[in-house]
Symmetry: C2
């Protein structure tokens, strides 16, 4: 298995923000999503804002209640980014498994967990 981290000038989108967004979609709350990753809410908030800045579009819609009150959901752009990232990771992991024996002959394949 390989870990896929996209870069533009800076680190831009990777496994951490992907997991966080998936949990927001599931739990409808950034606070609950952060909690279930063992991440402080303030850290999760910063991670999302930085990613939004580097992508140039919003990832989360806050529903009624303001910053601390209401829930959150993903924007259409966030959903599209997440789906693209997951599909891209699958394709690259397939390429990684296919190429592995060419570069490490005699080794077992790395675990495809």
């Amino acid at each position: 298995m390989v870990r896929i981290q996209l870069y533009t000038d800076d680190k831009c989108f990777g496994p951490g923000i992907a997991q966080l967004l998936e949990l927001v979609a599931e739990r409808k709350s950034l606070r609950a999503a952060a909690q279930s990753m063992g991440m402080a809410y303030s850290k999760a908030w910063t991670v999302v804002r930085r990613c939004e800045e580097s992508l140039g579009y919003p990832l989360l819609l806050s529903s009624t209640g303001g910053r601390h009150g209401g829930g959150a959901e993903l924007t259409d752009e966030a959903r599209a980014m997440l789906a693209g990232y997951r599909a891209y990771c699958r394709a690259l992991n397939e390429a990684a498994e296919r190429l592995f024996p060419d570069y490490f002959p005699g080794s077992g394949n790395p675990d495809g967990q």
Copy 2:
């Protein structure tokens, strides 16, 4: 650019140990290699030992002078692993750039730094 991290059951070989081994090859000393990465010698030693355990072969040969005295060099297996890893990363980065537009249409390519 993608970051390639190999896994077996555990994290096993990635950019950090690769850079450390390259610096050992250059400086003939684990202490000097660690220093030039801003890494504590004890940490570098642990990183090398863990990687040796997970790969099942030694990465470093210590030359005369014992643990603290003499220099270090790479074993043949370490050299082969490092060369395989670098070539594998190049191949996967090429695949990553080639596949990128299929999954993120309309985006610029990630930086190939």
